[in-house]
């Protein structure tokens, strides 16, 4: 940006604030007001809280929102990332369970527990994990996992990848750090988000009057209108998703309640049964006994819940006379994650127990958990989750950008912003435009890294972070406006070319997927193009953004007054100026009022 353009951008933004403030001033000044500055009102303090809680956690929240959003389609994404696994029609759940169980007997021999997730409409393979036999008693628990072909029961031979699971895990525990730290960090961010939502609602004084309002081309005012629309329309979702997100990990964040209440091992086991459908393996009897047929148990569950309603089979101590089998319903049947299962004797195959309800507190937790994950959703509802969640991502993004839009006008020297401003500006570019490129790069790596590469799955993730870091360096090296435009174009390009890369490197190009009715593959390709289009629109918008040239004098006297007010209020960076409470030093109501209406009419 040329210095002149920069200056006019500042003037333009200043004008927008001025207009906004003038509106506020008219309203505030209707009754005669004393000249003395009023104490800061609740809206202004809440506005500050909103600004800073939003900014400090904003970059991580943006990443959590976007990776969480795509996680609503993680099964589809995982399938797309394992193109070797052929698309196939559904087969009977009982048969699949038996086939895979037979193979698990060999693959996971000597385990004390395995758990098998049956394939669904959305997922091509059966997946299983199992406890590794402990080398020494008391050593760390480790787990093995594999995917199985439902038609043959054989282990699937596909490229090593974390698939969509990476975005899902990153969403609440990040990467390159111990899981517990990551979850704590995610919890802090979610708490900041909750604070930002509540303080944002209090700050937004005209939720109903401005419900559908968008004032185009008015700088900061437009950003604020867009931010408000994205926040208010999705408010039930945003509040729900943030609160329930905290609930999913509440036992980690606040363990003291149940630590104090449940002391004996028996009580703790009872608690576990209320919240968890995973059987904990008991002590093995040491007497070998073959596992009873699993398919019969799955059929019994099907008879009870319906044909497509069986989700998972968990076995403890297989091959031992103390074996137990739990059959769990799939996620589609109800809006709750509270544990339900049928418990079978693993040797005789007899039904021992029907576990179908938990206490009210555990049920509340189960419902909130389910609401967050949305796994009960059919396709339409899943899309609604995705769209509103994407709006939430945009809400965080516009909020971050607004921090700089609002402050650019107040820079003493727009060509040499202070360090904090530059930091936020550059981090915004990398966190928003850079993340799209990094996520696309993860998919590029999935197609391009050699399949026999050691630790290939981790390699893909390293590419993701490497590219993300590179976008930050790029954002620091280039002028801010150029960096936005160039990185948005780059994001559009890498997204748009992914289906092309897919066509070149796999036997499942877009047209063939459409021809055979494989909507998982075709859908991911289409989605990538849609997202590429979105980036093109953003890039064009950034490119065309021409700050209107206005005489700078309008910003003059008021800016000085603002600076004075800030000095009095002691906020330094001038956060109060745009909070919209008008400290009573503006021009008279008549002048401000006519100025506003003139602008609104224009």
């Amino acid at each position: 940006m040329t210095p002149a353009a920069k200056w006019s951008a500042a003037a333009d933004a200043a004008k927008a604030t001025e207009a906004a403030e003038a509106t506020e001033a008219t309203e505030a000044a209707k009754p005669a007001r004393p000249a003395k500055p009023k104490p800061r009102g609740i809206r202004q303090t809440m506005s500050d809280l909103h600004t800073w809680s939003g900014l400090l956690a904003g970059w991580l929240l943006y990443a959590m929102f976007l990776t969480g959003t795509v996680s609503y389609f993680k099964e589809e994404l995982s399938d797309w990332m394992r193109p070797e696994v052929a698309w196939q029609a559904q087969t009977d759940a009982g048969e699949v369970a038996q086939r895979v169980a037979d193979h698990l007997g060999q693959v996971a021999a000597g385990t004390s527990q395995w758990s098998l997730t049956l394939p669904t409409e959305r997922s091509n393979t059966a997946s299983a994990f199992w406890r590794m036999p402990q080398a020494t008693p008391g050593a760390r628990r480790t787990f093995g996992s594999a995917n199985f072909n439902p038609a043959t029961g054989q282990e699937v031979k596909a490229r090593d990848t974390l698939g969509g699971e990476f975005f899902y895990r990153f969403h609440f525990q990040f990467y390159y750090m111990p899981v517990i730290w990551g979850r704590w960090l995610a919890g802090f961010c979610a708490m900041f988000m909750l604070v930002a939502i509540v303080s944002g609602v209090i700050t937004h004084k005209k939720i109903f009057v401005d419900f559908f309002t968008f004032r185009w081309g008015k700088g900061q005012r437009s950003w604020l209108d867009a931010h408000n629309a994205l926040s208010v329309f999705g408010l039930p979702f945003h509040a729900m998703i943030t609160y329930t997100g905290l609930v999913t990990l509440m036992a980690l964040y606040m363990p003291w309640g149940d630590q104090a209440a449940y002391k004996s091992p028996a009580q703790r086991q009872e608690l576990n049964m209320q919240v968890n459908a995973f059987l904990q393996p008991g002590k093995a009897a040491g007497v070998a006994a073959p596992l009873a047929p699993v398919d019969a148990m799955v059929r019994e569950a099907q008879a009870r819940w319906g044909k497509d309603q069986v989700g998972r089979v968990t076995v403890t101590n297989p091959g031992d006379s103390s074996a137990r089998v739990a059959v769990t319903p799939g996620d589609g049947s109800r809006v709750s994650m509270s544990p339900q299962y049928l418990l079978f004797d693993g040797v005789s195959g007899k039904l021992i127990e029907v576990h179908d309800k938990v206490g009210p507190a555990a049920e509340v937790r189960g419902v909130m958990y389910a609401l967050h994950l949305g796994r009960f959703s059919d396709l339409q509802l899943r899309w609604l989750y995705f769209i509103v969640s994407l709006a939430g991502t945009a809400m965080v993004g516009t909020g971050l950008v607004m921090w700089t839009v609002k402050r650019r006008q107040q820079l003493p020297d727009p060509q040499r912003p202070y360090f904090g401003f530059r930091l936020v500006e550059r981090l915004n570019i990398a966190a928003i435009a850079g993340l799209s490129i990094a996520m696309a790069a993860y998919l590029w790596a999935n197609r391009l890294l050699p399949t026999d590469l050691a630790a290939r799955g981790a390699g893909e993730v390293n590419v993701f972070f490497g590219v993300w870091g590179a976008t930050l360096l790029y954002a620091m090296a280039r002028p801010a406006r150029r960096a936005w435009i160039e990185l948005l174009w780059a994001g559009a390009a890498v997204l748009a070319l992914l289906p092309v890369l897919n066509a070149l490197t796999t036997a499942r190009p877009f047209w063939r997927s459409v021809a055979v009715g494989d909507w998982v593959f075709a859908g991911v390709d289409l989605m990538l193009w849609a997202l590429a289009l979105l980036h093109v629109m953003l890039a064009l918008k950034a490119q065309r953004h021409k700050p209107r040239v206005k005489p700078a004098r309008k910003a003059g006297p008021r800016a000085v007054e603002r600076a004075k007010d800030d000095a009095v209020a002691g906020t330094g960076t001038g956060t109060g100026a745009s909070a919209g409470t008008g400290t009573g030093t503006g021009p008279g109501p008549g002048v401000a009022g006519s100025a506003t209406s003139a602008r609104e009419g224009a």
């Binding site: 419900f211 559908f212 208010v232 329309f233 039930p236 509802l381 769209i387």
Partner: protein, 92 residues
């Protein structure tokens, strides 16, 4: 299919509510509508939103219904918002 109906009804509801606001009346018609029409639009709008709730909850029950309803209303409000922005831009 039930989602489509819920979406369409809430779309109509939000459109009526938007039309009941003087800012958008000015925008669309160049003048404010009479208080009677405005009140009627407001009633129709809220009735539409309630009807949409009834339709989805009647079919899916409260648990799933409320979740779907919240998604459909968010999307519908967003679409009305976008339509108003597009209209505003085309006129400008």
């Amino acid at each position: 299919m039930i989602h489509v109906w819920t979406l369409l009804i809430s779309l109509a509801g939000f459109a009526a509510l938007a039309l009941a606001m003087d800012r958008h009346q000015e925008d669309l018609f160049g003048r404010e509508l009479s208080p009677r029409v405005t009140r009627l639009l407001r009633i129709v709008g809220w009735a539409g939103l309630l009807l949409a709730l009834g339709v989805i909850v009647g079919r899916q029950g409260w648990a799933l219904g409320l979740v779907s309803y919240s998604g459909c209303t968010s999307l519908a409000a967003g679409l009305v918002f976008l339509a108003l922005v597009v209209h505003q831009r085309r006129r400008a």
